[in-house]
Symmetry: C2
Subunit: 540 residues, 2 copies
Amino acid sequence: MGVDYGTNSVRAVVVDLEDGREIAVGVYEYKRGEHGIVVSRQDHQLARQHPTDYVEGFVAAVGGAVKAAGKVKGFEVERVVGIGVDATGSTPLPVDREGVPLAMLRQFKDNPDAMAWLWKDHTAWKEAAAITQRAGELKVPYLGKCGGTYSSEWFWSKIWRCRVSSPKVFRAAYSWVELCDFVPAWACGITNPAAIRRSVCAAGHKAMYHAAWGGLPSVEFLKTLHPDLAALRGRLYDEAVASNEIAGRLTPEVAKKVGLPAGIVVAVGAIDAHHGAVGAGVRPGVLVKVIGTSTCDMAVAPTAPEELPGVCGLVPGSIIPGMVGVEAGQSAVGDIFNWFARGFGGGHEALTREATKLAPGQSGLLALDWNNGNRTILVDPRLSGLLVGQTLHTTVGEVYRALVEATAFGARAIVERMEEYGVKIKTVVNCGGIAEKSGLVMQIYADVLGRPMLVSRSSQTCALGAAMFGGVAAGAWKTVEAAQRAMCGVKEKKYVPQGRAVKVYNELYSLYRRLHDAFGGVERKADLGGVMKRLMELRG
Amino acid sequence: MGVDYGTNSVRAVVVDLEDGREIAVGVYEYKRGEHGIVVSRQDHQLARQHPTDYVEGFVAAVGGAVKAAGKVKGFEVERVVGIGVDATGSTPLPVDREGVPLAMLRQFKDNPDAMAWLWKDHTAWKEAAAITQRAGELKVPYLGKCGGTYSSEWFWSKIWRCRVSSPKVFRAAYSWVELCDFVPAWACGITNPAAIRRSVCAAGHKAMYHAAWGGLPSVEFLKTLHPDLAALRGRLYDEAVASNEIAGRLTPEVAKKVGLPAGIVVAVGAIDAHHGAVGAGVRPGVLVKVIGTSTCDMAVAPTAPEELPGVCGLVPGSIIPGMVGVEAGQSAVGDIFNWFARGFGGGHEALTREATKLAPGQSGLLALDWNNGNRTILVDPRLSGLLVGQTLHTTVGEVYRALVEATAFGARAIVERMEEYGVKIKTVVNCGGIAEKSGLVMQIYADVLGRPMLVSRSSQTCALGAAMFGGVAAGAWKTVEAAQRAMCGVKEKKYVPQGRAVKVYNELYSLYRRLHDAFGGVERKADLGGVMKRLMELRG
């Protein structure tokens, strides 16, 4: 079984280990806050979740999936061998000495700082900037594996923020646990925080953990941030492991509630996109793009580059055990299309129809895809969108196409950065609703990236990947790669780069990079005088 | 009386010389082509008018106004002392040895090249570029008075183009006459092209005429363009004069058709915006902005700067006799608002309502107003629009306001350029529908330009100005200035710069200039890295 903790709901699937077929599904929509997210009127950057939703969600979703599977011919519940778990991240929550989330204690139950700090919470932006600055000043290596910039979305920023905004909560927290570690621990009855097996994926990508430098950042470094963070380090963890390892075994109590056999294996968790990459068939040379409101771009490499500037993460074992996991992403993709289609008219269908009629370059437009900042490769949230080339005849369909192209150029910048540092990308497997529904987007991506675009066969790659790890941890498959060969696949329809389009987009991409570098602060002596004229010429 | 030849119609007004009151109006919509413009499916840059429309239009509009005035109590047709004429320009038409427009001859009647080449015809862009280049190579002074760049809209470009595209028409043309010169000549029965009194306004702003260098460009220079242009020079004119001079006297034949006394004075013509500036009350220190689909920005200076780079024209006597007329303009203003309101949703009313709620800087957006190129101060038609600062929350109302602000910044760039070269601007009188209707636009202009915005009392300033010249030429007023004091006025409502807004807009303008200079090719080493962040900070 795979259990996937998303932003608004948790989803459990029962999967056939022989061929990856989904046998049954159970879903639970979080009940607390707005669509499961506790927000604040005073601070739009705040986004929390109540851990009660995680616990109730496990029982409801897993129990629901098992019940539904029971109606499927040939399914026998005794043959469920293991459970894999993935979750959003970095989503850390404070727990007490017995591993109980503080928000589940009476005195903290309505305190947002005692809840889980959801991945998209940005209240800790000052702390993130301070961590980046301090690491730079002290020339410590901790940011070398996360693109050189520490994010307000990540583990240490959030914990430090909690120390600042709620000292009481901070003091009551014996330890902090990532959501993807909390769920297996809870399901397996591990109440001692020191005994929780931690995900190397969350630790490495979000908490500056690296085995080679002795785990988490040193006490000395943490002291320069805040003495209380240094004191906390000893109550966190020294070692983190990959998801082919066993986190524990399902307790009889939980097993009874969900209708599964007690004692089955629960695998060590991971962050959702990483399991999603495995479920989509990531392997050396194959990039997995999860395209949603934003994107996650996941790759693996047999040997690690020393660094990969501007790329969010570079962590051994975070995706496939024995390989280095590489994580990048764009801050907004579907979000940009939605923003324009809803606010500026047309709706996706009509806009797609208009945009499809246009040839590359024909709109005369060029855009930057930074409406929500740039996650990779500039790692700068304080950037914004840009559109150039408008005439008095520019249409909404043309702008829509330019925005799609902009996200493709952003995707290409990521792939080029990876290749520049030795992570080769030959093909791309795309997941998510946009990949499944929009031939326009996929064809433009193929033409801009100059590589075939494949679409994952499963539309639940995260849960599928989690189930695969459940199977591997339980010994049903010896390796993740063997499980992938049996269980992953792509749809028949694939998108192949077209000669003329590739040529025009190569030129448009070079113009994009000029704007990218000028407005991104990479190039301080930018010569943009010819950009508008070249766009007019390309319009033909 | 004033007669105003616009792009789609001709309008005649009977005006009271004592106070500028409009007594009666007559209008004629051109009948040929689309809304009076002959276009081509093959070439979207082509825009012509049939001279028959001009002749029929004079009779219908003037006759109609006289007839309507006849019903006004106290009006006596014998007291009409003169007629002034203005027209779009540069709108030259080829005529034969008897002054008959070639398109009014049977063999040329449907040939667009034999018609009037309307101001907005851009078929001659190659010739314009060649003239600019040649003048630069030969270091001749001819472009010093027209901003340094010769336009495809102007006299010599069009005539040269005709030589290239229709040698037959070119050979049949004994001379070429601007529309504002053709109408008075026709009305006064002047059939010898050499006897037509030419407008110094059209000659100076559009044909590189300058008294100090002996009139039109030299035969030697024209030879380097095309020998046939050099040969034509002798059949054009040696002298051009201001509109306080008499072009001729109304023939009995025309007088009878329109119901006016024969023999009354017809003043030398001028280009419409120039008469419009007079009708709006232009004087030293007062800029007149005619805001329509594009703008004309008109000023006068008692003494002329030697040059005014990037400003379309600098011509002694072109606006007020005895002063230097300065003409600048923006290629698109109302056109940009229309483009956005129609194509991107909302409509002007709703967009204006939303935009009015916003404080300066609040949108976080910044735009360039180049959707139709930049006429002043870059003189570059091959530029385009730009919008920066979009987030996932940007609304159509915010973009609309940013576009209004962009046109205000473009207006400020013109005013600053004028002041830099000694043409001082203290207040601005605005004309046109946008000035009359949009308090939002006027307030933003006041805040961005840091000067009070007044609105002309008359909404027919071109025709009013023409009527004033009819009166001055006939001797009813001794000077244009005296006529202006009696006949011009502004509306009660005026728009005054607001302190905080001025401050924010000063900063936004400096960001605008950074984009302006970078994309306009002025600054080849642009540092734009901080632009997006500063816009975010200003958003507050």
